[in-house]
Amino acid sequence: MSTGPTGTSTPRAGAGEERIAAAFRDHEGAAALMPYIMGGYPDPSVSRDIAKAYVDGGADLVELGVPYSDPLADGPVVHAAGTDALNAGVTVDDVFELGEQLAADVPVVLMTYANIVLRPGIEAFAARMRDAGFSGLIVPDLPIGEDSADVVAACDAAGIAFVPLVAPSTTEARVAEVRSAARGFLYAVSVTGTTGERASLSDQFEEVIRRAKTAGAGDGAAADVPVGLGFGIANGEHAAQAAAAGADGVIVGSRLVRAAGEDDPVAAVSAVMADLASGLGR
């Protein structure tokens, strides 16, 4: 652990990063439970009920997705849900409204594609997230580097944690680079591929977690970055395996989005949440 003058826990992204850190520190069970919701799916009203079911089901943080026309990192379930929401008229404004209500109960991390962030201007978008009470931002098509520098800076200024991703194909050196730029947590992608349920976790997930936890760690601020594992986690057993391998949080998307499309969405997502919580020893 660092003994430097600023310590290891000085947040670079202000209030958002502090709230996310608290979620990782204070959760029950083996890891933080981080469900994903497709904002406005199947419709804005039901989406609010689903968000509430997440909170009631023990969500420590909610990842809020924005329906998008061209989601390059998403598999068929999330893609189709986003398309349905867009066809039903759901707008970015609707998603912010949902997130603002949700942020009263849990930290909200917005997950959206780069063009949605760039469209109104980066500073304006970051300020809007701050005003809505959001804590973080995940942009799957904005890797750490020259293309994302402006967005990270604008998020820092607004107190929003920019959460980057690492994948199984990411080299050790690159993981260290991304990790040192991570605010709030580092999103480890468990598989080489798009979002979606898998029958079992890939044989790569333990290695991804190990690298995400250790690459470049031990020097200054990077030492304490929590790791959330996502893509492919579909049930309590997967969640337990992720936690056992060292993940500080588990992110569940497609399984819950599929449940949100069922006849009784609230009952369906609640059942999935209960299974996940049980897997995490709660």
Partner: protein
Amino acid sequence: MSTAHRPEIGSERRFGPYGGRYVPESLLPALDELEAVWSELRDDPAFKNEFRGLLRDYVGRPSPLYLARRMSERAGREVWLKREDLNHTGAHKINNALGQCLIAKRMGKPRIIAETGAGQHGVATATAAALLDLECVIYMGVEDIRRQMPNVQRMRLLGTTVQPVESGARTLKEAVSQAFRDWVGSVGDTHYVMGTAAGAAPFPAIVRDLQRIIGDEAREQILEQAGRLPDRVVACVGGGSNAIGIFTAFLDDPVALVGVEAGGHGILSGSHGAVLASGVDAGVLHGSYGPVMQDAQGQILEAHSVSAGLDYPGVGPQHAWLRDSGRATYVPVDDDDAVRAFREVARLEGIIPALESSHALHHVLHVPAPEVEVDLVCLSGRGDKDLAEALAKLEEIDGAAALAADDGEPTVVPTAIGSDPEADEDGDGPQGAEEVR
């Protein structure tokens, strides 16, 4: 391997503010690898020999440069056609597909994927894959599959899997997105053969490098055949690969460069593909930052064009920069004018042009340009694939007489081409604006 070219790596990720790598982290290693491999191969003698040899013996290059006599008469200036339609598989697409499949072989990737709209890039890629013994999957929107069944059958015959794409408007944009999704999961053993000079870096630069042979040949040919450089080079622009391919050789010459985009139902209708001419805002599409058709919230919009190959809401980043820097200009030609030019060129020259190329041909035939004496046009592909679509459209706009022997085109007084170039300098006479529609 030599490290002599290392400084080039990454130097063309952006053209002005445009370009970049807006892709999932999973793909960055593949883009890094592609960039590094290409910086070696582009100057590697063995690779160049193999590529040039196939272009000559398999594709049939150099493609001819042809002085289109009756088009020249009608336009009132020399019109030279660079005949990419005479390439194997019928379009310029094979230059890039073959080059990228050779790169895939060098990288040891046994599987390739690609998107296609009209099917020309899909057929070219399927052809190169058969030649080089690569497994090939082509993503194609179900709407385009319906419209372009002969090309689907060609790809299947060639041993390729055609994967239907059901999302969105089921056309080119969605096919590209689905190919990217495949690549996110398959990047270890798969190369994505991007079909146009767009997408994440280094694709715009690689596709340009592989297509620049169009302009390199044409420049040499016109100097030899016409004894001079053209005043203007004209090419159609969807993503922009044939245009950047022919423009590149003339960038440092005193030659006007004109890109012709899909005007669709007209710019004001919003139903078009004229991304540069209409001045839409920049955004991110398919890994690249550049002008893109989008709504106020940042959702990408569908483009429209009668030609599937120009039906794309984005454009290559180098074209955007050529526009901003003033080096090239971009103009729209709408659906109706393009299909009429399709018929007109068939009747004037006995050449059935691709509907994409027909946009450029309309501009050359019917938009006054008194300052131009010699035009060079990229005839990017042949139009057999477009017959059903174009004939239906002609009947829609010109009624049952659409294919009557007299199509109502203006009769022009023939002028002697090239006999007295001095006479055209004032722009008067039969070359004047009155004679062109």
